[in-house]
Symmetry: C2
Subunit: 283 residues, 2 copies
């Protein structure tokens, strides 16, 4: 598809409540509508916006899981996307039989375009979710070629690179970032730094929507951020604890042109895959 | 080898002059000796410390090239390393027959341990140097397992990852960083951000020694930096235009232990190489 010339993207930062799917769904719809009133054509929501994060057991998580097709969260987001002619990317606890995936959906005005299942699971997620099995899809939409990564996926530069090699212009990151140790107080969050590095070295936009709040003792850091293909921060980092919507203008055609850095260099075509063999060796 | 418990590392930031190999060599030896007086056991020097950077022609560069074994720069650095029982990593324009490589050597008290040839060439380097053909070696030294990358190599997260997968504890980066466009004045250099991101996502120390000065119209940005495996900046960024030596204490055994982040997570073993296939596909 030929993408539209440029559009306004919103990252919604809010606090889902664990197990309160109905309330979370209503809150996300209200926030999407607020973002639309403020000009957004694409709204990115946090990881597990449907369900909250800090489950006490796999059974509790299963009860909060939903199918994507026909599930209430996808239905609600599809309705609002259709009504306003917008796109929505957001996190859903996906139930598929007895399996749970930490998923995110891509929804357009005509409904569900596709989904991504988180491939790198953080901490106790390993006791609840099945690792993603959909690879790193790229969705060719009216806004450009979109990919999705979730939270800890971003700690693996391979993930951003795989999306870029697949042709992604913009990578949406629904996330539930937690504090990292080993960094001095007041320093930029490692999440910000990893996001800037990935945007720059792949020549792609990245839009990360984080949650806020402390849930059953687990803190989240907020600081949602939208980064240009240069690595420049376009919006955010948002606050660490307030509900907030951040906005930036995305122009994917311009980013594609900017990927030619000079007569000789382009961050994708300068790769030397013939000497990267160790990266795909199974241990 | 079992590495020594901890040691002091120095990154030397200075201005080589193009084609003035004798003067550059004398200056590097003096600066290595100053770093040793201030406690360094490992001294990292910039890219092309032997020769300067901004050649007007391939012939000029060939004339400034040296063999590594038996060449005057390696001989001089070996002498000072032997005298003080230290290690030196630094950039040499390596002449091998009619070929030139943008190389860096790793030298210990007993002489040349090995070398690395820059694999990703920046801009007009493509008209002068042959791309490196030694892969991403890891040198098992008394200080820990060292790898070397050079400048634009760092724009490819594959390079840091390949070193880490090979077991590197510390990656030394002789560099000649140039200004990048698209970032606001006063923002951290993208070089700093890429270095922090690579250190954090691989759990390795990174020590980058940059040059300063404007050479035939080409500016360099200084800002040498030493980063811990957490991504925290330990020393620097140095100034953008002054000769300077920055120091930090390196403890590779501690970094190895810190790579276990929690009961489930480790940034290397959490990788999923079975889904990274696109990274090694030849175009």
């Amino acid at each position: 598809m030929t993408p539209i010339p440029s559009f306004r993207l919103a990252c919604v930062q809010f606090r889902p409540d664990v197990g309160q799917n109905d309330g979370n769904r209503a809150r996300t719809v209200a926030l999407i509508e607020e973002a639309v009133r403020r000009g957004a054509s694409l709204v990115v929501l946090p990881e597990l916006s449907s369900s909250g994060y800090q489950f006490e057991s796999r059974d509790e998580a299963l009860a909060a899981g939903e199918p994507l097709s026909g599930g209430p969260t996808v239905a609600a987001w599809t309705e609002v996307a259709h009504e306003h002619g917008i796109h929505v990317v957001g996190g859903v606890a996906e139930r598929d039989g007895d399996r749970l995936y930490n998923s995110s959906v891509v929804i357009g005005p005509s409904g569900l375009i596709g989904s991504y299942r988180k491939t790198h699971l953080w901490n106790a997620e390993n006791t609840i979710f099945t690792p993603g099995d959909l690879g790193f899809p790229v969705f060719d939409t009216a806004l450009g070629r979109l990919s999705v990564l979730i939270c800890y996926d971003g700690w693996f530069p391979e993930t951003y690179r795989a999306c870029a090699l697949g042709g992604a212009d913009l990578i949406c990151v629904p996330t539930n970032w937690v504090p990292m140790s080993g960094l001095p107080a007041g320093a930029p969050a490692m999440a910000t730094i990893l996001t800037q590095a990935a945007a720059h070295s792949n020549g792609v936009y990245i839009a990360a929507a984080d949650r806020i709040g402390v849930e059953r003792g687990q803190a989240f850091i907020g600081q949602s951020v939208i980064v240009a293909d240069s690595g420049q921060v376009l919006a955010g980092p948002a606050s660490s604890d307030a509900e907030e919507i951040i906005f930036a203008t995305i122009d994917v055609e311009a980013a594609r042109a900017r990927r030619t850095w000079n007569q000789f260099n382009n961050p994708i075509t300068d790769r030397r895959p013939e000497i990267y063999d160790s990266l795909t060796q199974r241990s």
